[in-house]
Symmetry: C2
Subunit: 341 residues, 2 copies
């Protein structure tokens, strides 16, 4: 058997991309361990060798050395001789003392149910949706409390940007916040406009987190709760603005249309729905983060997806909105789509 | 609370590296699903749209579309309009019809025990070795049969290169192959020298695979089995050459020294031990693949590691070898170290 198979470097084609992909779960485990053990925090505190880090983190020198070398290989640390240090992004986001710390995100992103959903990806591809019942969409799932607690730090800045952007058009006084979660999107509107009242829709267990945040941020007296499924609860009416953030991706287009029709009915004429979503381009493979989010929905929901702008526009118009705009405001991973009733 | 936290692109520091690392397990799942569903093979056969691929792979169009887009984002496919195609490396290594197919490697690399070891990485860092008993080193573990079957295609070419390299010095007639596994390393020596007899040491269940391969490759009559632990079985003596491939990394240095002393005792004066290993540089963070292998050993063995050349030289000399060379021969991920008795 003679063939061109080749594991030799410096020649053109190797299977390294494949092996690297197969083993990429190790990087998930390594970054999780580093957060759990507070490796980045320990280094910021001045423990720079595997020996001193291991004492601070209550681990073995050997284990810390191997983990830190792995983190160095993947760019999360730098190494000079035996001393590790933090590149700028690790220092800003992964040191627990940093106000920009995002390490808590693993509490949701690596929740066992989500990992289990992905462990059944082949079956999900076969059936076109999660292999595990409702996936992440079970009513009152404790995972959405985890989400609210874990993702709050990451939501504040985009929520602030959205609130500021929406005020440029007109002030909203009665605001419906669907899938409120940590509450940041509604709370930031209330912070910017002292006349605004927020009506937050989410599961009852999740709304406890939102109310707590609203209280802590001084808008608790203008914060009202609508506990239960957004598909079933009574929103009321007379809203100027509805915040529809990170919920449509969980459902198929007809279900999204149904929800948006209910939102439309709750809005005053001329009212707006602000949709914040992962919005891939029409090629569905760019930008990478937004486009890749489809896979999460395939693994973890019965029929969710990351929708293109054209699809979100179609859903909104089918639900009775007369005009739909894709905002140019920069939100990082998400885009802002505004639908006008 | 005002801080520099920032999820906005086009500015300098973002937490994207972190989020990408946390989610990198999804790439493992995606490539596994693609191999299991034979996506790459289906495309080579002329099924280029998610619709036609889904029929060939017995999956839903929606599931295939989302998976193929994800594979495109990660460079395993290219996409033009609705048509997917294979880049050169995917075509060569991931199409089941290709003689260079390596997809079978997932059968070992993603074996449940290995994943479970990594799922306990934090505990492994704390204790300095696998959290799960002997990790992957349980006697007669069926995972090493999986290894022998799954990794055989990847071993043939390096085995051929090593056999050719070793002949430049002298022909070996009696060859000890420790951790023989699929048998490739010994079998290729026997293929190149019709006078060579190979004595293969490995677990009994694993040696069945090696013997079958030796038979299939026409050297079965010169292939002899030494079943059991390499630390306990009787090797005999009079060997010109010992092949010590991919075994030392499983153990700590004193245990490696003990094994190498046993190898030395089995060799004739002037005999050689050929060690093929992941050999990181003394910085322990390069080259990436060899250096990263330390983490696998931390997670999956009580005290294994990827050893630098200086460490392998130290182990060999402590075991009674008089000269140790690092060969410049190119083996891809591994290096060849030759120890002379």
């Amino acid at each position: 058997m003679t063939h061109t198979f080749n594991l030799v470097p410096n020649q053109q084609i190797t299977p390294e991309r494949f092996f690297s992909a197969v083993n990429s779960y190790q990087l998930t485990e390594a970054i999780k361990s580093a957060i759990e053990l507070e490796i980045f925090t320990a280094i910021t505190e001045g423990n720079t060798t595997s020996e001193t880090i291991s004492k601070r983190c209550q681990a073995t020198e050997r284990g810390v050395r191997i983990l830190c070398d792995f983190l160095t290989i993947h760019g999360f640390l730098t190494k000079q001789g035996a001393a590790y240090s933090l590149p700028e992004d690790s220092a800003l986001f992964l040191d627990r003392h940093s106000p920009a710390y995002v390490g808590s995100a693993i509490e949701f992103l690596l929740t066992p149910r989500l990992l289990e959903c992905h462990a059944h990806l082949t079956e999900a591809v076969r059936r076109g949706g999660t292999a595990l019942g409702e996936g992440m969409l079970d009513p009152e799932s404790p995972d959405w409390v985890k989400y609210a607690l874990a993702m709050m730090p990451m939501a504040r800045r985009p929520a602030e940007i959205i609130a500021t952007e929406l005020r440029k058009d007109s002030e909203a006084h009665k605001v419906l916040d669907i899938a409120a979660s940590h509450g940041m999107f509604g709370i930031l509107v209330a912070k910017q406009n002292p006349a605004a009242h927020i009506y937050a829709s989410d599961w009852k267990n999740v709304l406890k987190v939102a109310q707590k945040n609203a209280d802590a941020m001084g808008v608790g007296d203008r914060y009202h709760l609508i506990p239960g499924s957004a598909f079933e609860t009574e929103f009321g009416n007379g809203y100027d603005l509805a915040l529809v953030t990170n919920i449509l991706h969980g459902f198929d287009a007809p279900t999204c249309t149904k929800l948006m029709r209910k939102v439309s009915a709750a809005l005053n004429p001329g009212g707006r729905a602000a949709i914040a979503e992962y919005v891939p381009n029409s090629d569905r493979v760019s930008p990478a983060t937004a486009a890749a989010f489809s896979l999460t929905m395939l693994a973890a929901t019965p029929s969710g997806d990351a929708y293109t702008y054209a699809e979100l526009e179609g859903i909104s118009k089918a639900a009775g909105f007369v005009r739909v705009d894709l905002s140019s405001v920069e939100l990082g991973r998400n885009r802002l789509v505004i639908a006008y009733r």
